[in-house]
Amino acid sequence: MVSIGYNSLLVLCGALVLGALCGLVGSFIYLRKNTLISDATSHATLPGIGIGFLVAFALGWEQGRHLPTLLAGAALTGALAAFTIGWMQRNTRLNNDVAVGAVLSVFYGAGIVLLSIIQRLENASQAALDSFLLGQIAGISIGDIYLILILCAVTIICTLLLLKELTLLCFDEEFAHTTGMSVSKVDIALICLMLGVVCVGLRMVGLILILALLIIPPVTARLWTDKLSNMLWLSSAIGGLCALTGAYLSASIEHLPAGAAIVLCAAALFFPSALFRRHAA
């Protein structure tokens, strides 16, 4: 039996909770057919991370690598991206896919420009920013883990509070509307939850691959069940399991990016499911 230190245990715990959270929120995103918005939003956090870094660096916090500031920046530009996509859909002749693709690449481009500025700063620990692209388990500090756990807990509580509304929204939008529920407000709440999940996942999974953790567990769960409540817990279980396994593998095998390990675990569950359960969908 390999003994696991307290820190590693906390990291694995963080991965488990994060994965479960992704599975839960991702289920609603999938049922609302909104998966691509999460793709754009997660890529769009990059300029926010850059801005957060510059702010923290200017203020002299941890040479710029101050997780709360970075995540606040990420949430800011992520939200701006989600809003821009919605605005483009409502006000222009451009279709949803164009809005998503354009916002995704332009925000990401802005982020890359900011990173090229940060690279030139002296005394900045800019190398750590790479971990936000592909996720990294090694070198994650205890303070960061506490922050991730707290944010996960907040997002889970918010999701559970909205469970009834979200279920209704995904189940029957028109009926939801007749009950007097504001469909658009619940949709915005769902986007906010998604944004929360993306930000929490940046450190461990990375912004390129967090999308996978939001999509693959729900789709896999959907292949096995038709019932929403079953899908929710199954998807959370799959997400948690994949994140846990992936994080463990990444921590024990050198140079294995955490995000990639987690996604490959999820893919290893998904593809056989799709093969054997294709009639279920």
């Binding site: 999938y30 057919k33 998966t35 691509l36 793709d39 890529h43 483009m88 006000n91 222009t92 002749r93 451009l94 279709n95 949803n96 896919d97 164009v98 998503v100 693709g101 354009a102 995704l104 690449s105 332009v106 925000f107 990401y108 481009g109 802005a110 982020g111 890359i112 420009v113 990173l115 090229s116 500025i117 030139r120 692209l133 592909l134 390129i208 691959l209 999308l211 996978a212 999509i215 693959i216 789709v219 292949l223 095998i253 140079h255 294995l256 990016p257 995000g259 990639a260 390990a261 996604v263 490959l264 999820a266 893919a267 998904f270 593809f271 799709a274 294709r278 969908a281």
Partner: protein
């Protein structure tokens, strides 16, 4: 002009312009067919293709790399199609699953299979390597960067394809049901277009990186959509805007910081995408008929 310009900036500028042109042409059809996100998916899938090609052949030759990446794109397209049509998974989710899984696979292959033995890393995919192009003086055909050659060939190919199939592409994109009833094999047209997109994504990957390729595919075409009501004007305007975006983006990244007194240049690929966004934003707001400001009046 200095030697540095001709050996570094000139080839980079040329590559940026050729890449922009190569992506904008199929990009218009992706935008019109509501398939823009295929650009996203395919550009990510290039990475595992490169890694696998190297692991299987042990060669870093551009031909091998190109074929590997192209095959990966085709496999991804097929996988997406299978998930959509046979497993009944919604198309956005199907794309997301396929490209994230393959991208993750590519990362792991790069880290574990290729290792640090050779210069092939995820850095390119994420940041682009426009700054690395180098054409030593004196310029000859022998030392020309191979990206200039491959992108030129690609542009000739895609212009020829679109010139030949303009009417078929238009019909299949506008009304695929009718196209089928008059005997046009729409699956053939879609496949040809996807191959063109894959070729462009692969050829431009090295220059601008996978995420920013998406900007080249979508931003010029989407900007042109705000102005144009005919397919050929759409194609021409989006090509012009693409080249414009590449030039302005590169200049803004390479020369403007120096003019402002900064020592270092900025990421050219990132700046090109950013300029694409500014062009698109301006078009959305100010286009004469379909612009938001015009509609508000």
């Amino acid at each position: 002009m200095s030697d540095i310009f001709w050996s570094i900036d000139f080839p980079a500028l040329l590559i940026a312009m050729l890449a922009a042109l190569a992506c904008s042409l199929p990009g218009s059809f992706l935008v019109l067919r509501r398939e823009s996100m295929m650009a996203d998916a395919l550009s990510h899938v290039v990475l595992p293709g490169l890694a696998l090609a190297f692991i299987l052949t042990g060669s870093l030759g551009s031909g091998v790399m190109f074929i590997g990446a192209l095959l990966a794109c085709l496999v991804a397209t097929l996988l997406i199609k299978v998930l959509r049509e046979y497993a009944g998974i919604e198309s956005g989710a199907a794309m997301g699953i396929v490209f994230t899984s393959l991208f993750a696979l590519g990362l792991v292959l790069l880290e574990k299979g290729v290792g640090s033995r050779v210069h092939l890393d995820a850095h390119h995919a994420l940041y682009g390597g426009l700054e690395l192009s180098y054409w030593p003086l004196p310029h000859t055909w022998n030392n020309i960067p191979h990206a200039i050659i491959s992108l030129s060939i690609l542009n000739v190919l895609s212009i020829a394809f679109i010139w030949l199939c303009l009417k078929e592409l238009t019909l299949a994109s506008f009304d695929s049901v009718y196209a089928q009833t008059i005997g046009l094999r729409r699956s053939l047209i879609s496949a040809a277009l996807m191959i063109l997109v894959a070729l462009s994504a692969v050829a431009c990957f090295e220059a601008v990186g996978s995420v920013l390729v998406i900007a080249l595919f979508i931003c010029p075409a989407a900007s042109a959509r705000m102005f144009c009501d005919r397919v050929h004007t759409q194609l021409i305007l989006s090509a012009v805007l693409a080249v414009f975006m590449a030039v302005i983006g590169y200049v803004a990244a390479a020369f403007v910081p120096a003019l402002l007194g900064f020592e270092h240049s900025l990421s050219a690929a990132g700046m090109i995408a950013l300029v694409g966004g500014i062009i698109l934003g301006t078009s959305i707001l100010c286009a004469p008929v379909y612009g938001v400001l015009q509609k508000r009046k």
